[in-house]
Amino acid sequence: MPNLNDILVLLPEFYLVAVACLLLLLDAFMKPEQRHWLHWISIVVLLVAAYMVVAGQPEVTVTAFGGMFVRDQVSEILKVFALLCTVLVLIYARPYLRERKQFIGEFYTLMIFAVIGVMLLVSAGNLVMVYLGLELLTLSSYALVALNRDSSLSSEAAIKYFVLGALSSGMLLYGMSMVYGATGSLDLAQLHTVATQSAMPNLLVFGLIFMLVGIAFKLGAAPFHMWIPDVYQGASTPVTTFIASTSKLAAFGMAWRLLETGLGGLSQHWQPMLAAVAVLSMAIGNLVAIVQSNLKRMLAYSTISHMGYLLMGLVNAGPEGYSSAMFYAISYALMSTVSFGVILALARAGFECEEISDLKGLNQRSPWFAALMALALFSLAGVPPLFGFYAKYLVLQAAIDAHMLWLAIVGAVFAIIGLYYYLHVVKVMYFDKPEEGGADQPQADASLRVVLSINALALLVLGVYWGPLLGWCRHSFGLG
């Protein structure tokens, strides 16, 4: 029987569910011109949730509902950053949505439901809970991608996302069922002890492979990356931003829960598989990104390569590696909010600012936004002293510590290749002449400008002051 304590452990999640339902109701009674209230209410609601997560942070790991739900430091950090990233997405999205007549209540409620999915997923203590959280997140995401009903591109992206997403969820579920068959347990903590003594090790590994497919799909790692470019390009930019930031934090959380908490005993099986996926992702992501002319599509391939680097941290299969991967996930989420945020800021009615050529000569028209974008791009490329470098440095270190020097070298080589396409965008912004109809001085809201600037400058500040964040990441995995 659930008692009051269980409910208290899940307080932030319950709170968000209740508020999301209320907002849905509120939206129905709101006049369109009052809708900006919904925007601010949603932001406050998410910030309050983040505060509740921080304030209620337990000293030790707490479980609720018979181990279904785990509240530990890893989940808390991921939740806080997921909520913050979503707030950023909402702030960056408002002018874009308003100009496209998509400023509707569903956007906000779906976003909040997706975040609830993320929170449940990263706190999951049971295979069923993993699946539930994942479905809540992805179903909301499908709807968000399809929100732009009149665009055939976004409908196509939504269908593609849905079909492939359903397939991968099926794979994940199939793998889970086999793991359950081999061990007789759905509880991740129990799995951890049972997995090594299973009477059917082959079946277990078979299940593991299917689960890995599901994980790789959700991360967007090659060879299960096909949906990423289409969805990134087809979805409206705010939704893309959400998928590129909050969702990646969730995907990391899921991967860690399943692989370490659940099947940590099988690490000698999943390490080489993950290493192969990492190499493929870095290769495909970085090489294909070079030839893209669409900025969102290029960033999509860049995501694929970044997921390869993130996996490099997981391959380490130790607390050092997990903390570096979590650091990577957080840094990636913060960098992609900036890069997509600039796209959102520069977009105006009838102009998406999606093509790389749209940014031509941006430095002459809007030096500040060109500088913010350049910060994000140099950071994504991993050039010191920006934040992204330290994330890369940590995962490379994790690979070397796991005695996979070759993987680190492969990662380094692809970092050089990846550098090119980021530099290409900087080149377009700084060295090319501006063109008629290109990106111009943005007319975006003050809130967007200020928050985006803080977000981008944080990449520089965190490049110097990255110790505390790393400290949290390491501490949550029990390291000093």
Binding site: N363, P367, F378, V383, P384, P385, F389, Y393, L396, Q397, I400, D401, L405, A408, I409, A412, V413, A415, I416, L419, Y420, L423, H424, V426, K427, Y430, F431, W466, G467, L470, G471, R474, L479, G480
Partner: protein
């Protein structure tokens, strides 16, 4: 006493970039004066290094060490020895001269130009101070961004190609250095250079680390055969960019060799000294010939930079041969000292040469040698300086170019007369390409009507060239203070060479 001098030197120009940037394109003069102010302040602050640093004692002084990342034992560690002090002074002097040199020349967004220069200056000083390998790497790489922008925005027609090549080439080398550093960290648990120097490594480990380091620094120096980015970058860079690139940035490569290859992998260094010496001689002789046939003045000086930097790498690695092979510590010191003097001297001479070319380019907007001829007739004062720097470039006694090269040739004679023979080739080839350049540009009849309209240097240009000239001549006739400043540090560097770490 104030013990954050090094931090001040690094962060003052970087902080200065912010108000310069804020001055905006609407107030270009404010941006220029602010930039000059911060450059001068940094220079004045760097002068305090001289009384603070005890040259007789040597070793790492003015130590600053704070825990940067506690969980990884990464430190914000700064310290200088005599060699760093000399290079920092070179950097701060050149910083003032490029700002003055760019005063009216840069009309397009001068505030961004000046801010990039200031940021670059701070980061370069950081490289010369860092005693933590990760911090060094961060500064080493951070130099790329401002330089990338400098070449790309204010460069010549093929600037995009040149700047992308520059960035990717340098990044390529340093990424492997990062892997080597991570491996060392994996072994030692720290990035502290002093601890890494004491870390025992097997020969195989040393070999791989050596090549990773060598690639990173050889690209930066640049050594043959990874020098091809330099002529492109130099030709397309604005004058100030070229000056900083040649005068300071190339030294980061040889400085890195001193701080990383020599102490951390001395055994591999000895084993592969022949390779580096060979490549240095190729740079001196072959690149000298390549310089001879250039039609673009900037390209010619760029190739001559490669040749002159060959002397620096030669001096450093000949010391391996002398100290470890022959046990001749004194001559090893001579070679190393020559390399250090050559580093500083080349900083002034190449900076001056690029400034001269910039002066001509501003008037005629061409860098091709054939477009000039008879410049001395219309620009006598300029001709005076140009000939002086040309003489220094070919190593005339009495100029700074002579001192370092002479010491290196002398040291290599002890190691192997043939090495000295090829190294001494530079006296002929260097004189050939430089004097021929002077002949074609300065002397002769004026055959281009535009040359006849060229005006002699103005006060601002005279100031810059005079400063370079004074330093070049001072270093040539009285190198003693510089040698004294670096003496005990050079001794310590050479002592590191003979340590066996296997």
């Amino acid at each position: 006493m104030f013990n954050h001098l090094l931090s001040l030197l690094i962060w003052l120009p970087i902080a200065g970039a912010v108000p310069v940037l804020l001055a905006g394109s609407a107030r270009p003069n404010l941006a220029r004066w602010l930039a000059l102010l911060f450059m001068v302040l940094t220079f004045v602050a760097s002068l305090f290094l001289l009384p603070q640093y005890d040259a007789a004692q040597g070793g790492m002084q003015l130590v600053e060490s704070h825990l940067w990342i506690a969980s990884l034992n990464v430190h914000y560690g700064l310290a200088v020895d005599g060699i760093s002090v000399a290079l920092i002074l070179l950097t701060t002097v050149v910083g003032i001269l490029v700002v003055v040199g760019a005063w009216e020349v840069i009309q397009n967004k001068p505030h961004q130009y000046m801010a990039a220069m200031l940021a670059l200056e701070g980061v370069m000083i950081g490289v010369f101070c860092a005693t933590d390998a990760l911090l060094f790497y961060v500064f080493f790489e951070a130099m790329l961004i401002p330089m990338f922008i400098l070449i790309g925005v204010w460069g010549g027609p093929r600037r995009v190609y040149a700047t992308l090549k520059f960035f990717i080439y340098t990044f390529l080398g340093s990424v492997f250095m990062l892997i080597a550093l991570l491996y060392l960290y994996h072994r030692a648990g720290t990035f502290d250079l002093h601890t890494l120097a004491a870390l025992p490594l097997t020969f195989t480990e040393q070999m791989w680390i050596f090549f990773a380091f060598l690639l990173a620094f050889a690209i930066k120096v640049p050594m043959v055969p990874v020098h091809t980015w330099l002529p492109d970058a130099h030709v397309e860079a604005p004058t100030g960019g070229s000056v900083v690139l040649a005068a300071v940035m190339l030294k980061v490569g040889t400085y890195g060799m001193l701080r990383f290859i020599l102490p951390i992998v001395p055994d591999a260094g000895e084993h592969y000294a022949w390779l580096v010496i060979g490549l240095s001689l190729v740079a001196v002789v072959y690149i000298g010939y390549v310089a001879l046939v250039q039609e673009d003045m900037k390209k010619l000086v760029a190739y001559s930079s490669v040749a002159h930097m060959g002397f620096v790498t030669l001096g450093i690695f000949i010391a391996f041969m002398l100290a470890r092979g022959l046990g001749d510590m004194d001559t090893a010191r001579l070679g190393m000292q020559g390399a250090m003097v050559q580093m500083i001297s080349h900083g002034f001479v190449s900076g001056a040469m690029f400034t001269c070319i910039g002066v001509m380019y501003d008037r005629l907007h061409t860098r091709l040698i054939k477009d000039y001829g008879g410049v001395i007739n219309v620009m006598p004062w300029f001709g005076f300086f140009y000939v002086l720097f040309a003489m220094a470039n070919c190593g005339l006694p009495g100029t700074s170019g002579f001192v370092g090269e002479f010491m290196v040739v002398l040291a290599s004679f002890k190691a192997n007369p043939w090495i000295a023979f090829f190294a001494a080739f530079t006296l002929i080839i260097g004189a050939a390409y430089t004097l021929w350049l002077v002949k074609r540009v300065l002397w002769g009849e004026i055959h281009n009507p535009h040359v006849a309209e060229m005006k002699d240097i103005n006060g601002r240009e005279t100031f810059v060239l005079l400063a370079f000239a004074a330093l070049t001549v001072a270093l040539g006739i009285w190198p003693e203070p510089l040698i004294h400043l670096m003496d005990s540090s050079v001794t310590q560097v050479v002592q590191q060479l003979v340590v066996h770490k296997i």
